[in-house]
Amino acid sequence: MEISFVRIDDRLIHGQVATVWVKETKCNKIIAVSDEVAADTLRKTLLLQVSPPGIKAYVVTIDKAIEAYNNPKYADFKTLFLFTNPTDVVRVVEGGVPFKSVNVGGMCYKEGKTQITGAVSVDKQDVEAFRKLHEKGIELEIRKVASDPKVNLMSKIQDL
């Protein structure tokens, strides 16, 4: 399996992802990785419904994502991986999936989170996970859409 792109976006598949990122990243599959969403039949069905034409989408648990990455049956996959949060990314990376760069697109504000850009808010757990990814040498860049300039995430959380 080829890793086309890795994005954290808590809306998973939505307008920007379905129309712009899919084209930019030249993927042929979308794998949304979330234990929570994979267990939620309704959310899962609705997400699969909005996958763009010609692109097969899957919603899987973290364990399943690691297993699928290592399965030679999926060698022709050019996958756009979607996550809702960085902690899940750490788990997949620690499971042996070699992400080189993670795009952070949307993590919405909730109480107790700190807003670091218009579209990205983080809590303590997120910061800890991002630090782990950074220590592993993974690029962490914030961009809402492909044409935005890359913003280095670490520079935004160094004081948190």
Binding site: G15, T19, E24, K44, T45, P53, Y58, V60, K64, S147
Partner: protein, 139 residues
């Protein structure tokens, strides 16, 4: 880069481009033209021409207008009739505009116009009918 001009009855074009930038990001070589109550078609031709002057259409231009046969379409057609590298697609909607922007660097005018039509048309779907036909595939 093919220039894009969105032309509509009322302020729809301006707002449509604002919506487009929410999904696509910053817009480049794109203009919106509004047709307000009381304006004439020849006035609209002038507005389109003025918009074209602000754009780079050395690779061509595509007008995306709302109603086929409406004034924005008619005004655009008066301009398009004089050039080989201008086309007009009617029935503009958000998916159409986004798809045109995403694909315009890799398409020629003719392909882009066809793609605009399919993008606009294929975006119309019913939740209930999709849900009935949906078959899930597991990894």
């Amino acid at each position: 880069m093919i220039a894009v001009i969105v032309g509509t009855h009322g302020k729809f074009s301006e707002e449509l481009l604002r919506s487009t930038s929410m999904v696509y990001g910053q817009l480049e070589n794109v203009a919106g033209v509004t047709f307000e109550p009381g304006e004439s078609v020849s006035g609209l031709v002038d507005k389109f021409k003025a918009a074209l002057e602000t754009l780079d259409w050395s690779d061509g231009a595509i007008f995306l207008v709302d109603l086929f046969g409406g004034s924005p379409y008619n005004a655009a057609s008066r301009i398009a009739a004089g050039y080989e590298n201008i086309d007009i697609v009617s029935g503009v909607n958000l998916p159409m505009v986004v798809d045109v922007l995403v694909n315009r660097s890799s398409e020629h005018l003719e392909g882009l116009a066809q793609l605009a039509i399919s993008a606009g048309r294929d975006s119309m779907k019913s939740f209930r009918s999709i849900r009935e036909s949906q078959a899930e595939e597991e990894l």
